[in-house]
Symmetry: C2
Subunit: 200 residues, 2 copies
């Protein structure tokens, strides 16, 4: 054991980081910490952007604005507005010249991922993106992991539900068809690693 | 002149459409009619989407939500929110496998297009998109036309301003460096025609 002159125990950076991650992610669920799946993805995308790796952003939440106050010329205050359902996925952008499009969802369910997390028009949007030759997928936060599930197998599970089959994807199916996303310190949910493996 | 049995004068569809367009667009400005540049682009993009030509959407207006009321479980009402400045352009999507990214702006100015219509972070975003190999441009509604100006010449004009030069693009420069977008009935601002010419 090595100590600094001030008596503090020396720990190499890497270990410090890992320890911190473990403290932050005791079970990789979002319930007990300040960060959300959206926060982690935004930080990941900011890292990609700052290092000129990719340009991928979350779209703003769609809001129907009904009433706006102008107390001063400079500051408009929205006084009445409503959440609208999005007709697309939440994230899109470009990576190595390719169009990237995805949705991120989480479940606390321990044995399956409920398909009610998705909406019909989102699935339609994903199908349109695939037809145009884009890279389209979903990021699932489930079973203490982040999963990368391509749009095509998702369509299969969706169609099964639409035809009266089960309303969720079982954890076995996810482990078979989805890819576990490596977690990093800077690129927290490093999904481009999976895209590199699958498309480049 | 040909008349229907009910006495109405026959007009071929094409002419009817043209006449209607001329009534709607007496001088191609938005001041005297209900439609905005955004409306025309949304209709154009809806046409592209419905005909599986491209998947391009306007991003929602970014809003900072401060206070939400829940009078009933089903209906959340946003009671205090503020407009935020976007860190990207307003429109993006995919066409023939290529990532498409653009901003749309208009001016009533008759001799030049003011660069104050753009923000530094939008220009930064466009530069990032170009670095990733995307198709990036602006649509300018000016001088009774719609113009397609690629990001690269826009950067040149922007840098000229940043270096103390003129704060606008002259109409001569626009006519030299930008492409006039053909107007149609269904694809009102048919900018993919220009993309076809320049990139495919």
């Amino acid at each position: 054991m090595f100590r600094y002159p001030n008596g503090k125990v020396y720990q190499p950076k890497e270990q410090e980081v890992k320890k911190k991650r473990q403290q932050q992610h005791p079970s990789f669920t979002y319930s007990n910490r300040g960060m959300s799946l959206e926060d982690d993805l935004n930080e990941t995308n900011q890292y990609y952007l700052a290092h000129q790796i990719a340009v991928i952003h979350k779209k703003p939440t769609p809001v129907q604005i009904v009433n706006v106050d102008y107390p001063r010329r400079s500051a408009a205050v929205i006084r009445e507005a409503y959440f609208k359902q999005s007709s697309t996925t939440d994230y899109n952008g470009i990576y190595k010249g390719k169009y990237i499009d995805f949705e991120a969802k989480e479940t606390k369910n321990k044995t399956s991922f409920p398909l009610q997390n998705f909406h019909n028009h989102q699935i339609d949007h994903m199908k349109s993106v695939i037809r145009q030759g884009g890279i389209c997928f979903v990021i699932l936060s489930a079973f203490q992991q982040f999963y990368f599930l391509e749009a095509e197998p998702l369509f299969t599970f969706w169609d099964r539900k639409e035809n009266g089959g089960r309303k969720s994807i079982s954890s076995d199916e996810i482990n078979k068809y989805a890819h576990v996303i490596p977690q990093g310190y800077q690129a927290r949910i490093d999904y481009l690693k999976i895209i590199d493996k699958l498309y480049f």
